[in-house]
């Protein structure tokens, strides 16, 4: 299998979907000549022309609304909002409108739109440019929220997102664009709403998504050297949430630690832990632990930023503590 970057994988997904379906078009800030703030749309205008790859003004509300309207008008727009921080300005179009059309208008029309954006911290961009706000959107019925961790997932999930008839937030991680990985040749799709066991293990389940799935995998490798075999579940899609895969794993390992980059309070880990407790309480040998971002606006200084975002070391610590506490 060819090894390409996460960025290239996304670019390939866009290219393939635009080739397959004339109704797919891209618009957003600097997606044409600049090739997208993170280079994902690079070169697309050469192949598809400026009718299908369009720059917009720096007007996220306008972009968000126009994307919803274009989808209602029969297109399948992929709107790039640069980063999730700026998606806040488009949140009216996303939350108040895109998520509501199908239900509020009595099932007459769905909104097949993809909002692409970068999320996450770690690039020393300070607090307004480093947020992991996926929970905000994953909270909303009517939206789908996708958070790929690897190049292969990025491609297969983006292709599915574009074909999906619902509004999808596709959240790429700022630190993953240059990560390389094997990507199957030819066309393939990864279904939305399906988690994946990325590493098998028998002693504990680590539940993570986006870049934290890679952090969890690294932690699992380290734990393995100490004799603890961790199973890593990558959620891949936050809404709809695939609890079955998580529960199956926890029923096998009897322990769980959640790993997320975003703040702990009201976070994904809180949701996962609660659902495990509701549905697999009898299988648990230990309380569920949450590893999450420190609850502060993300600082610029390198050491402070690093201290705020979970890394493999913190995951290893959390897991070991669990085993110590439960006396294994």
């Amino acid at each position: 299998m060819p090894i390409i970057t996460y960025r290239e994988a996304l670019n390939h997904a866009l290219r393939e979907e635009m080739t397959r379906d004339e109704r797919v078009l891209i618009f957003g800030e600097d997606v044409v000549a600049y090739g997208g703030a993170y280079g994902v749309t690079s070169g697309l205008v050469n192949d598809f022309g400026d009718k299908r790859v369009m720059d917009t003004p720096i007007a996220e509300g306008g972009i968000g609304g126009a994307a919803v309207g274009a989808a209602m008008g029969g297109l399948r727009p992929v709107a790039e909002l640069m980063t999730i921080n700026f998606a806040l300005l488009a949140s009216d179009a996303i939350i108040n409108h895109a998520a509501k059309v199908l239900h509020m208008f009595g099932g007459q029309m769905s909104v097949p739109v993809v909002f692409r954006m970068t999320g996450g911290g770690g690039a020393q961009l300070a607090s307004t440019h480093s947020q992991s706000l996926e929970v905000l959107f994953a909270h909303v019925p009517g939206l789908k929220v996708v958070t790929p961790a690897t190049p292969a997932d990025a491609k297969g999930l983006l292709k599915s997102a574009i074909r999906d008839n619902n509004p999808v937030l596709f959240i790429e991680h700022a630190l993953l664009y240059r990560v390389r990985g094997e990507v199957p040749e030819g066309e393939y799709l990864i279904p939305l709403g399906q988690a994946e066991v990325k590493r098998e293990g028998k002693d504990i389940t680590l539940v993570a998504y986006s870049r934290m799935a890679l952090v969890a995998l690294e932690a699992a490798d380290r734990l393995s050297q100490e004799g603890i075999e961790a199973e890593v579940v990558d959620l891949k899609t936050l809404r709809p949430l695939d609890m079955e895969t998580v529960l199956t794993s926890v029923r096998k390992t009897n322990r769980a630690v959640t790993v997320e980059e975003t703040w702990r309070t009201y976070g994904i880990g809180a949701e996962i832990a609660s659902r495990i407790q509701e549905e697999a309480f009898d299988y648990l040998d230990a309380p569920i632990h949450r590893v999450a971002g420190v609850e502060v606006p993300l600082p610029y200084a390198k050491n402070l930023e690093q201290a705020a975002i979970p890394d493999a070391g913190r995951v290893v610590e959390a897991v070991k503590q669990l085993f110590v506490r439960t006396g294994v």
């Binding site: 968000g64 008008g73 199908l102 208008f105 007459q108």
Partner: protein, 332 residues
């Protein structure tokens, strides 16, 4: 003889039947609204109910210029546009009563009328939020070569919002076939237009974006029709967006929850002298186009339609509880 009389009133393209139909539609809207207000007072209709009384000439005049395949998108004061566009009156009333037969199955209520088969795409309750949607609809029309004109309706209050300017700028950049129709009824809830807008002429707000604009008397259905005809032609030709400011007045409160403490009675009375229905009716009578018998018939027909709508709505079942979980997600 009759043809030339008609020509006098409105120029070519308008026969007597069409003119009487305008009166019929305006009256139907007025009666639907009055009945809705009554049902609200009796507790049969809940939520926010924004009535359209006084503004009927705008909806009827503007909608009359649209082709069948054109699109319409409006704010929450949407009954008038829905009725003028021909949405099923019974199902509209059923929606107000929250019934299964409602135009959106009881999921939307007053502010969210929608009928895709008639190109009526809402009914949107966030002030100015639907303006960028209209731009997207226009983009789709151009992209797919559909030559659909998008009529986008909103109030004066919406022009002070960032979405307004983002939408107009993008509309001009992308040359989309959108007619922005601003109904300036002089108030946004209780705030008079001069307290919310630094410029009093909404039509001037199109100028910075290079969008041609016109102001029109919104109490005159034919004036609205004439201006909208031009605007729609402009958009249909591929010349991009057009902006219309329709000067009008709402006779009732902002919504049924509004005690209207902020307006002068004299001001309201003055505007009521310009009631678009009364004025149009008198004009038709003066020109010999409306006999007392014809008026009586229009009164009777519109009464019957509203009575039937209420009957239909009241006899309709509530939505089944299983509907609660329906239509959250479309099949992939």
């Amino acid at each position: 003889m009759e043809a030339s009389t008609v020509a006098k009133i409105a120029g070519p393209g308008l026969d007597k039947k069409t003119l009487l139909n305008f009166l019929h539609q305006m009256l139907l809207i007025r009666k639907f609204e009055d009945k809705s207000g009554e049902l609200y007072a009796r507790g049969k209709i809940a939520g926010f109910l924004h009535l359209y009384n006084g503004q009927e000439a705008s909806a009827v005049g503007a909608i009359s210029t649209l082709a069948e395949h054109d699109l319409l998108i409006t704010h929450y004061r949407d009954h008038g546009y829905a009725i003028a566009r021909g949405l099923d009156l019974n199902r509209c009333m059923a929606e107000l009563l929250g019934k299964a037969t409602g135009i959106v199955k009881g999921h939307g209520g007053s502010m969210h009328f929608f009928d895709v088969s008639l190109g009526m795409l809402g009914g949107w309750a966030i002030v100015a939020g639907h303006l960028p949607l209209a731009v997207g609809l226009g983009l789709a029309s151009n992209y797919l070569g559909k030559q659909q004109v998008v009529l986008c309706v909103f109030g004066d209050g919406a022009t002070n919002n960032g979405y307004f300017h983002e939408a107009l700028n993008m509309a001009k950049l992308w040359k989309v076939p959108v007619v922005f129709l601003c109904e300036n009824n002089l108030y946004g809830m209780g705030t008079a237009v001069h307290r919310a807008s630094a410029t009093l002429e909404m039509s001037r707000k199109a100028a910075p974006h290079g969008i041609p604009a016109q102001r029109v008397d919104g109490m005159d259905v034919l004036a609205v029709r004439e201006a909208t005809t031009k605007a729609v032609e402009h958009a249909r030709r591929g010349d991009g967006p057009f902006f219309l400011e329709v000067l009008t007045y709402r006779f009732r409160g902002h919504s049924m929850a509004d005690p209207i403490l902020y307006r002068d009675k004299a001001e309201v009375e003055e505007w009521k002298q310009r009631d678009p229905i009364v004025i149009f009716r008198q004009r038709l009578e003066k020109e010999g186009l409306l006999s007392p018998q014809e008026m009586e018939q229009i009164e009777r027909e519109t009464d019957e339609l509203v009575v039937e709508a209420v009957r239909f709505a009241e006899e309709s079942p509530d939505p089944p509880l299983t509907d609660l979980y329906k239509d959250i997600y479309a099949d992939p």
